[in-house]
Amino acid sequence: MEEIGSLMQGFAVVLTPVNIGLMFVGIILGVLIGVLPGLGGANGVAILLPLTFPMSPTSAIVMLSCIYWGALFGGAITSILFNIPGEPWSVATTFDGYPMAQQGHAGQALTAAFTSSFIGAFVAVLMITFTAPLVAKFALKFGAPEFFAVYLLTFCSFVGMGKGSPFKILISMTLGFALAAVGMDTVTGQLRLTFGQTELMRGFDFLIAVIGLFGIGEILLSMEEGLKFQGKSARINAKVVWETWKTLPKYWATSIRSSLVGIWMGITPGGATPASFMSYGLAKKFSKNGAKFGTGEIEGVIAPETAAHAAGTSALLPMLALGIPGSPTAAVLLGGLLIWGLQPGPLLFVEQKDFVWGLIASMYLGNLVGLIVVLTTVPLFASILRIPFSIIAPVIIVICAIGAYTVHSAMLDIWFMLGFGIVGYVFKKLDYPLAPLVLALVLGDKAEDSFRQAMLASQGELSIMWSNALVGSITMLALLMLCWPLIAKALQVIRAPKADEFAAQRPVD
C-alpha cells in the first residue's frame, strides 16, 4: 500500500509542535467564524488568508483547513441551541436539533452532531486518501480539451443539481466569468473590460468578492430581520457524551448512508447543503421512527450532519486532484495554493508530495482536534452568541474591511467589497445562487485558457470536444447536466411529479 506509506510520511510532516498549535488556533477561529453571523467558511478563510502568507505552505494549509473544519463544526452549535443555522448546510440540523434542545437534551443533540460530523469527515478523508492519487494519476493523461470538459461539467452540474431558476444559475455563473475577464488577458496581453481605468487592470479578486458577497451580504440580511438571539443553554459533561456515544452505534446504517450521500454530493459540486437535505429525507424514509422526525429525533441530527461534513470534506478531492474546487470554501483554499506558488492539479501529487500528504494527514488530525475542542468549549462559544448584535455587527464589518484591504493592500478593494455586499444581499433575496459566481470568478481564467488551447489545437473546430471517448463522455455528461431542468420537466409530464417535501426550507446556495 503505497498510500499508507505516503500518509505516514504526511503525519511526520504535520506533527510538529508549531503545526499542532496552528491546528488548535485554526479550529478555534473556525468555530468562532461558524458561530458568528456573517462570517462563514468561505469568507472566514478568505479574511485569514493574508495572515498565512509569511508561513510555509504546509503550515498555512494546516491552519486554513482547520478553520474550515471548525466552521463546519460551528454551524451545528447555532442550529441546535438557537434555531439559527450558522451555515446553509446546517438548516436541516435545526429540524430535530432545536426540538431536542427545547426538551432539555441539548447536550445529547450537540454530542450527536459533533460525533457524526467527525464520522462523516473521517469516512470522506479515508476516501480521499485512497482515490485522490488514482484520480491524479488518471488526470495526468488529460489535455486541454479534457480539462475544459471537466470545467464544463463542473459548471453544468450547478444548473443540473441546483435549486431555483436555471436562468439565475446561468446568470450568476456568467457574471463570475465576466468579472474574471476584467484586467489583462493572459494570452494576448490585451486589456479587457477595463474601460481605460488603470485601477481595474488588477481585475476583481475573488477573495474580495467572497468577503463582500457572503460577509457584508449576510450582515445586511441578518440586520433586516432585526435579529435577536434567544438560545437554550447547553451543558456538556463527560457523562452526557458517554451516554450519547453508547447510543450512536445503533444508527450505523444512517451514518453510512449519509456519508455516502455526502461524498457523492461533495465530489460533484452539488455541495453540502443539498447533501444534508437529501440525507435527512432518506433517513426519514428508512427510519423506524420516521414519523417522529422533526420532534427531536437524534437520528434527524445524525443524518444531515454526517452528510454535510462528508460533502464539505470530499469537496477537497477534485480541488487537489484536478484543481477544480467543489465548493466556494474549497475555491478559496485553491486561491491560497496559487498564492503560495503551488499549482493544484494532478502534478501536485508528483511535485509536492510532502505538501499533499501533509494536508491529507492534517485532515485526519484536524477533525480529531476539532471534535475535542468543540466538545469541551461549547458553553464558551454559545456565550459569544449572547453578545448583542449591535456590537457584533460593526466588529464583523471591520473584520471584513481589514480582510479586503490585506489581500492587495488596496483601498479601492474595500469599496468593491461593499459593492459586492449589496450584490450579495440583493442576489440572496432574489434567490440567485452565489456559489457559481465565486467558482466562475476563481476558475474563469483557467477555464478560458483551456478552452482557447483546445480551440487552438483543433483550429476552431468544436468537434475536438468529442475527439476521443474520454473527453466525449465528459462533455456528454456535462450537456446532460445542463439540459437536466428540461429533461426533468419532460419526465414530470410522463410520470406524476414526486413532491419534494423539504423544497421550501432548502436554501439556494
Binding site: F167, K168, I171, L220, I402, S409, P507
Partner: protein, 174 residues
C-alpha cells in the same frame, strides 16, 4: 428566503415586491451582458492569426448572460412564475440602510484616518447610536477590539494595515 415574512406579519408597508426588483436587476444584468458582448467584439471575438482573439470567450459569456437575463425578465413578468412576495418593507429597509450608510461613511473615513482610528470610531458610534449603549462603555469596547486587531496584524503577524492620508497613529512608530 425572501417570502417568509408577509407584510401582514411585520405590519409595515411593503416598499417593493420581488417581481419588480427581479425585473430591474435582470435588466441591469442584461445591460452588463450587452456591454461585455460589445467590448468583446471590439477586442476581436473572432479568429485572429494566432488563434482565438481576446474577446472570443467573453463574447459567448456576455451572450449567455444577456439571454439568461431575458429569461428571468420573462419569468418575473409571467403570470404563473411571478413572485409577488415582499422584497422589503419600510421597517426592514430602514434597518438595512442603518447598517449600509454608516458602513459607507466608515470606508470613506478609512481613507483619511486609516483603518484603526476609523474602526474604533465606527464601532463606538454604532454602539452608541444603534445599540443605545452608554458612551463610556462603547468607547472602552471599541478601543479594546481595535487594540486586539493592532496587536494581531502589526505586531504578531507583521501585516501592516492602511494608516490613512492623515496618519493619526504616526506617534506609535508603526
Amino acid at each position: 428566503m425572501s417570502n417568509q415574512q408577509t407584510p401582514e406579519e411585520s405590519g409595515s408597508p411593503v416598499l417593493v415586491r420581488n417581481c419588480r426588483v427581479d425585473t430591474v436587476v435582470a435588466a441591469i444584468l442584461f445591460i452588463i451582458g450587452a456591454v461585455v458582448v460589445v467590448e468583446a467584439r471590439r477586442l476581436g471575438a473572432g479568429w485572429t492569426t494566432d488563434g482565438p482573439g481576446a474577446g472570443y470567450f467573453p463574447f459567448y459569456i456576455g451572450l449567455i448572460l444577456s439571454i439568461s437575463a431575458l429569461g428571468v425578465i420573462y419569468q418575473s413578468l409571467g403570470a404563473k412564475t411571478r413572485d409577488d412576495g415582499a422584497f422589503v418593507d419600510r421597517v426592514q429597509m430602514g434597518r438595512v440602510l442603518s447598517v449600509l450608510l454608516p458602513a459607507m461613511v466608515y470606508v470613506l473615513a478609512i481613507w483619511f484616518l486609516g483603518l484603526y482610528v476609523a474602526s474604533a470610531l465606527y464601532i463606538a458610534l454604532f454602539m452608541i447610536i444603534l445599540g443605545k449603549y452608554p458612551r463610556q462603555k462603547s468607547g472602552v469596547v471599541s478601543v479594546i477590539v481595535v487594540a486586539v486587531f493592532f496587536m494581531m496584524f502589526e505586531v504578531w503577524f507583521k501585516v501592516p494595515l492602511y494608516k490613512g492620508t492623515l496618519e493619526p497613529l504616526r506617534f506609535l512608530g508603526y
